[in-house]
């Protein structure tokens, strides 16, 4: 089981929740929590997934729900 933490940038709390949802629905992501107060995204990857590739998809999906956000990979 692999877990990683990424720094994010987003302006509003509801957008952070939307990012969490979007990241959770991304292929290869087992679970995800977004902490708006710390601007951190903790991602748990599914077994055998390459975090880098998954995070690219996570970032793209987050951008879809909230244009004004950033995930620092």
């Amino acid at each position: 089981m692999m877990k990683k933490s990424y720094k994010i940038d987003v302006d509003c709390a509801n957008c952070a929740n939307k990012m969490e949802d979007a990241a959770r629905k991304t292929d290869g992501v087992k679970d995800c929590t977004v902490n708006f107060m710390l601007l951190k995204m903790n991602v748990e990857f599914e077994d055998g997934q390459d975090p880098k590739a998954v995070m690219q998809r996570v970032r793209a999906n987050c951008k879809k729900v909230e244009d004004d956000c950033e995930v620092y990979i």
Binding site: D11, C12, A13, N14, T33, M37, K64, V65, D67
Partner: protein, 628 residues
């Protein structure tokens, strides 16, 4: 304020000034419309762009999209009416942006405040290299290196004092302002501040494993474990916005259609569309969504400043529902060290008896002999003692200053044939016989912490219904301690596994809503800490096992902190509930008033921005826990 916020402030001021000036401008028709579009675009261009992107990405319930629809709709209505009343649309956008700015400022500010509170991260470690002090990254210091901490500096890494003596300020770790003395050979915990003398410390851990890193890691990740209230709010927000939008849609079309086809009167489209647009303004869930995590964040931050580390928002929530507190005795309610508590039936001076006992026991490292040596208080002159015989399961017989001294229990006295007086006191009894004659006995027992009784009273005052004590100690000792402290239930002579079973029994016997907290010192009670609804470990500075197993960690071993932790959690949760009720309440009232046509867009924007500002300010109150 950062650059982004300053830019927003400038846009707000420009647009507001322009809007006020336009109030006095005697223009009408198209010129009026174009003039009003200037402040509208100044303040809202980014929202409009975001709304367009939202449409492209099919994010129909995006805040920007809703704001754009509401304001563009209001402008279109004004154009259609020819009323020339564009102020409202511009003002809605203006206040929305003010709210966003405030939110981003307040959140940034509290982020900084809380990180300042937890400002225990050391930036460097001093290492002596070639006769000069060098500042190095604490991460690069290897275990066993001698580091130097000058007065006024933070201890960067856990270790043992190799040289020097000083007083330490542990306030940042424990919230306790009383300084601690350290000298050569003492263990020292990172995060303390060296106040007086120069210390040379031999490190025993890497920086990443040191107390300070552990604590920071714990506090920083605490708010990632979400509470039920937070989950409720994000679920609510997910339903709320679409529901209000559909309600707005229904409000725009159904009443006019009913009026035309059902009642045969004029449809009055403008009125209903206006009311629907008002709904869209109220549909943003931001006040709710921001204030709840912010409250928890502030509560956890305030608690850690008081020396109470809470591992997650969920634990803060559970802690606030604590109705039963179960204590481990030794080390939690009592000091966990043995002290001479009484000397009875002594034929000589008490000091003399203790002196003989300490000398006779001088070869042993048992806690009992240690406590005798402490009570004696002077250096032990081993040359005065000879012929030491340890009687296993009994005590010792030795020659001290030419006298035969026997120190031990009833069995020892029986064995050497000395009649003794049994003791009614609770604790370990050491009978003394000198030259074959009974000389009295010394009572040694664990001492109750000075604040334990008050801590139990304060817990009761904080709403805890039942206090329970579990101990492996004898029944006599346990009952006495419990009576002294005012504890409701005692279970004594328990093995570690029995404690888990007892806690399970207590959990199954209580109401689901009432939570059970177990307080231990983290030694041998990790399974119980895990099993309880909430595990509180105390005196955890430097104890990894306790930090690992517990949900709440008290940095020092003062039992008063338990009640304080509960009060902090109650205050935080109180604020959370206030915010939930207030924000949802105001929004629902405004929705009702809007549907009836009593609330206009001005009130709607208050429901959005005003509520958010008040909720955020309320959330920040959770940070102030010093006086609790």
């Amino acid at each position: 304020m950062n650059k982004k916020q300053k830019k927003m402030l400038a846009r707000i001021i420009t647009a507001a000034a322009f809007l006020v000036a336009l109030g006095f401008a005697p223009v009408s028709g198209w010129p009026r419309f174009l003039l009003y579009m200037v402040p509208y675009l100044v303040i809202g261009y980014d929202i409009l762009i975001k709304a367009l992107k939202g449409i492209k990405n099919r994010q129909m319930f995006d805040e920007s999209f809703l704001m754009a629809v509401a304001t563009v709709g209001a402008i279109a209505l004004a154009l259609y009416d020819n009323s020339g009343d564009y102020t409202e649309a511009v003002a809605v956008m203006l206040f929305y942006q003010i709210g966003e700015l405030f939110q981003s400022y307040a959140v940034g500010k509290s982020r900084r405040n809380i990180s300042e509170l937890m400002d225990i991260r050391p930036d460097y470690a001093n290492v002596e290299r070639g006769g000069t002090l060098e500042k190095v990254d604490p991460d690069e210091v290897e275990v066993g290196t001698v580091i130097i901490v000058q007065p006024g500096e933070k201890v960067p890494i856990d270790g043992i004092v190799a040289e020097g003596r000083s007083t330490l300020n542990t306030a940042a770790l424990t919230g306790e302002s009383l300084p601690r003395e350290v000298g050569e050979g003492d263990e020292i915990v990172s995060g303390c501040i060296n106040m007086s003398g120069l210390l040379k410390i031999r490190t025993t851990r890497e920086f990443g494993e040191s107390t300070v890193s552990k604590i920071l890691d714990l506090v920083e990740n605490a708010s990632s474990r979400k509470s039920k209230s937070e989950d409720f709010i994000s679920k609510f927000a997910r339903v709320y916005t679409p529901a209000v939008c559909f309600a707005a849609l229904a409000l725009a079309f159904l009443p006019p259609l009913v009026r035309v086809f059902g009642m045969g009167i004029d449809a009055d489209w403008e009125t209903w569309i206006y009311r629907a647009l008002t709904f869209l303004v109220i549909s943003c869930p931001c006040a709710l969504v921001i204030s709840i995590p912010l409250s928890f964040f502030a509560g956890i931050g305030g608690a850690s400043n008081a020396g109470v580390l809470v591992k997650g928002s969920n634990y803060l929530e559970t802690l606030s529902q604590t109705r039963i507190v179960v204590f481990d005795k030794t080390g939690t309610l009592t000091q966990g060290v043995f002290e001479v508590n009484g000397i009875h039936h002594c034929e000589m001076e008490n000091e003399k008896l203790v002196e003989y006992a300490a000398l006779a026991e001088s070869a042993s490292s048992h806690p009992i002999s240690k406590s005798l040596q402490r009570a004696y208080g002077k250096e032990i002159d081993r040359s005065r003692v000879s012929d030491i015989q340890e009687i296993s399961g009994g005590g010792v017989i030795a020659r001290v200053d030419g006298h035969t001294v026997a120190a031990g229990n009833d069995k020892l006295m029986d064995r050497i044939g000395v009649g003794f007086i049994p003791c009614r006191s609770v604790g370990t009894i050491i009978h003394m016989a000198i030259d074959g004659g009974y000389a009295g006995h010394i009572v040694i027992s664990d001492v109750v912490k000075p604040t334990s009784a008050e801590a139990i009273r304060k817990l009761k005052a904080a709403g805890v219904r039942k206090t329970v004590m579990l101990t492996g100690d004898s029944r006599k000792v346990a009952d006495k301690v419990a009576a002294e402290l005012g504890i409701d239930e005692v279970y004594s002579e328990l093995l570690p596994a029995d404690k888990v079973a007892k806690v399970e029994e207590l959990i199954s016997g209580k109401h689901e809503r009432d939570k059970l907290a177990f307080v231990g010192d983290g030694i041998n009670d990790a399974p119980v800490l895990r099993r309880a609804d909430i595990g509180i470990a105390m005196g955890a500075m430097g104890s990894d096992a306790a930090i690992e197993a517990a949900d709440v960690v008290l940095m020092d071993d003062d039992p008063l902190k338990i009640a304080k932790a509960i009060r902090i959690s109650r205050k935080c949760l109180g604020i959370v509930y206030q915010n939930i009720v207030f924000a949802i309440g105001v929004k629902l009232i405004c929705l009702a008033l809007g549907a009836l046509g009593i609330a206009n867009m001005w009130l709607a924007i208050f429901a959005d921005v005003g509520v958010m500002i008040i909720a955020v300010l309320n959330a920040i109150r959770a940070l102030f826990v010093k006086k609790l």
